[in-house]
Symmetry: C2
Subunit: 362 residues, 2 copies
């Protein structure tokens, strides 16, 4: 019997390869309690205020959630400094990135993406049948000029992670203004600020402050890292009226579950937890910088909660040897950054354990 | 400044109009605690075993969920009687319906949908740029022959809700076999069994039992109704190898949050809760049938947890008058069923309150 044929572009999508989980490392190497510094998760756990909200909400789980996510959007607007009607919520940044692609891309359209960045932009674009054009990196940072000169009449979306994952670099105000002003009106600029809470660079400008001025701008964010809710999947897209009007036609009414709505709202009010998270991250980064200097290992100063370290050997191999020591990091070979490891900042004792293991392994 | 242009078909999508919430009725009519019998929610609340799993999982919410949903898919396979590799999980049936549309539809493709059914099939199809052809109803039931004769060379998907929402009717084994055998191999048949747990009809056949034999068949289900988890959004698609291989390229790695994974798994093991749910539903249906007969109101015998009642007057108006009495139901005018109300089976006292209010209003 003939099978139904998928859309012609679907077979070109590479199947997803998940990172190595704690469970896999426990089984494979017989490690009782490995330290996972591979997925940029918050080492402090979830926001305590989010957990309180969880308990209060659970008895209502048999009811449908608010399709408008009214309270969550209001909390997000206050946190990210825009209006509630300029926010839409999704299951992590991933889902709002999907919404943007589905809303703006027709098969054959072009999307411009820096060559070394978060891999989901490419996947979400390919699922919509778009073609992807990559731009060059400049000293491992994103090259704004190459993006601007790569955009053509057929470019519907440009994706920019700021700060960038996995390099940890960040564009400042001047570069952001040059980019947003340099793009034609028909091209939507999506700025992913998943890591913006961690930025220490003084001239950082959140693109949320520009959504009133640029109808071709959308900004995404997430509570996965800064608010410790990776497991709950809470993401946002912020944009002006035209983009919001379009996304409202794409968003399924009940995409967000009730616990994500309530816990996300509570987490956004948990200023104390965010402060503690930033302190832990920044102190951890400074500790790691010092240790890498001591070991003579180059690293990329980071504006995020992770850091790229150049181990100067096959990083797939170093990564595996670290796993045998009970430390899970991410080798950057698959990102084209050979010889680099990406290490999430953990608790002080986790950072120390990573450094100890690295010394043993190198 | 020129705005980015959405994909050409997006503007044709009707914006979503949510049902009337408890909160709205409380505000608008000053009702302290209205009875909501409008969204086919489980009146017993969430599965107690799901709530236990919630408490055990919450401390891990800062970690990313299992991208493969391994444990949930295993539990679903045992419950729905197929293999774990024949299951994919999503945020409610809605998301797996989206996956199917995105996997198989190209702009301009045709989708065949019965004229009086769950509205999301149409929306999900339109979001992919497909055109929708509707088929006739026969005495408020789905007409298999009209579906088979409506399918053409360009038909990529046929949607069938069995049992059907909002009519509550159900096709038996013979009709299902005639449909699945009557469709060409290039057309994917999606059978939505959201309400299958409630069926009392003896000749019901779950299409899950056919996925090994028909590569052009996909079956969806949900824990929203039978397991009391509408607020958590847990849905499934079950299909053979070819469809699963295609969906695995579409599914974002972290679409399901950790609580949906863990509570969904626990709820599927909660046989006692499902049994209590079915008893409550069936006793409630029988009570409502008796009362409608007493009041001389025609109704459609139902294979679900709701019933269509013909109130014989403008049902928008009756619906509003019921709200003033504190009872929320759904008027079927927007489904083209003028004069009908859809009433979810509630707890015994909720069903009585509905009957009392209806007597007052009519």
């Amino acid at each position: 019997m003939k099978e139904p044929k998928p859309a012609s572009w679907i077979q070109k999508i590479p199947p997803y390869v998940p990172g190595t989980s704690k469970e896999t490392v426990m089984e494979r190497y017989g490690i009782a309690n490995p330290v996972k510094l591979a997925s940029n998760e918050n080492p402090l756990g979830p926001s305590p205020m989010a957990l309180e909200a969880l308990e209060q909400t659970s008895r209502r789980l048999h009811l449908y959630p608010d399709p408008d996510a009214t309270a969550l959007r209001k909390a997000a607007a206050a946190h990210f400094r825009c209006k509630p009607e300029q926010v839409i919520a999704g299951n992590g940044s991933d889902e709002v990135i999907d919404f943007l692609c589905r809303a703006y891309l027709e098969p054959g359209d072009e999307v411009v993406i820096p060559s070394c960045t978060f891999s989901y932009y490419r996947i979400a674009s390919l699922v919509c049948g778009a073609s992807v054009r990559t731009t060059a990196m400049k000293d491992l940072a994103i090259d704004v000029d190459d993006i601007v000169s790569s955009v053509s009449d057929g470019t519907k979306i440009v994706f920019l992670a700021n700060p960038n994952n996995p390099t940890g670099t960040c564009l400042g105000r001047e570069d952001i203004m040059r980019l947003v002003s340099g793009l034609p009106g028909h091209t939507l600029l999506v700025v992913d600020e998943a890591y913006a809470a961690f930025v220490r660079r003084g001239d950082f400008l959140s693109a949320v402050s520009l959504i009133d001025s640029f109808p071709n701008l959308a900004v995404t964010s997430t509570l996965s890292k800064s608010h410790g809710l990776a497991g709950l999947r809470v993401g946002f897209c912020m944009a002006g009226e035209a983009v919001m009007g379009t996304l409202s036609r794409i968003k399924p009414p009940f995409n967000m579950n009730m616990l994500a709505l309530k816990c996300g709202e509570a987490a956004l009010a948990d200023a104390g937890f965010l402060e503690k998270t930033l302190r832990t991250t920044w102190e951890g980064l400074d500790y790691l910088y010092g240790q890498m200097e001591r070991l003579g290992l180059p690293y990329i100063p980071s504006q995020t909660n992770f850091v790229l370290v150049r181990v100067g050997r096959d990083s797939d191999k170093v990564c595996e040897e670290l796993m045998k020591q009970g430390i899970i990091t991410r080798s950057m070979n698959s990102f084209g950054l050979e010889g680099y490891l990406r290490v999430t900042v953990g608790l002080p004792e986790e950072n120390r354990a990573f450094v100890d293991a690295l010394e043993k392994v190198l």
